[in-house]
């Protein structure tokens, strides 16, 4: 696979992958990208396969892997072992988390929607903030854990 124009400089890679020059260097530092060869003057020179790697990373990210997890997967792959066991593990965990998360969200959604609706017609009583928050009784999630949170993308 791959066969497009090779010998990409970092800016090319950024443009083609949508990842951003700084992020690319950051990924390299974090062990997500192999360090590429260099021109005599020190410029990074990538082969087209880096684009696949980046797609891989993006995908994994989207699936909820943290960069650290992705790093481990890649490292294992490079160590010859198929990282499948690991990946499977992570995926299973993700699934469970996702389900939990979604259940939580559904609950919140219900609360929110109910509060909004009920309060939409009730008008507001001074002193109470719309009854919205002070009124609702929520079954507290015992541990509020991270979502597969990602920051604002520029795209």
């Amino acid at each position: 696979m791959a066969g497009a124009g090779r010998a990409l400089k970092i800016g090319e890679v950024a443009k083609q992958s949508g990842v951003g020059v700084e992020a690319l260097r950051f990924y390299e530092k974090s062990g997500l990208l192999d360090r590429p060869s260099r021109t005599e003057s020190g410029y990074r020179v990538y082969g087209a396969e880096v684009l696949e790697r980046l797609a891989f990373i993006r995908r994994a990210q989207v699936l909820g892997f943290s960069l650290e997890e992705i790093r481990r997967v890649i490292a294992e792959r490079r160590a010859g072992q198929s990282p499948c066991a690991e990946v499977r593990e992570v995926v299973r965990r993700r699934l469970a988390e996702l389900d939990e998360r979604m259940a939580e969200m559904r609950r919140y959604r219900k609360e929110l929607a109910a509060a909004l609706a009920g309060w939409d017609e009730a008008g507001d009583v001074a002193g109470h903030v719309c009854g919205l928050i002070e009124g609702t009784t929520i079954t507290e999630p015992k541990s509020t854990r991270r979502l597969a949170g990602r920051q604002k993308g520029k795209s």
Copy 2:
């Protein structure tokens, strides 16, 4: 309302609210809590109503409000205006976000589950990472936005 033991010191409040001394001071600094009166020696002295305020904050947080949003709501309330319009706004936004989020999650879940299942019986092919990530084609979310992310809770 309220009528329990008044004149709480910060540690009491922490214990009764589950919020943590440092967080309480942090909330105060951030304008989420009014600054309480002090003893002569400078100790914070809270009235019981702070517990309600904290419950309010917790609830709002759980509903997906950021501290900044909560701060605004409280500020508006204090300014005499009912913050209902604002709250409603935020809630509506949250609902929309939540829905979008959940749709995304459902998609991911499907991908993950499918990948896991399909791959569970296929065995692994070297070179491909389980087909999991390199294989799946995901309809990319056009902008990857923050979830109502919250860090690891200590509870």
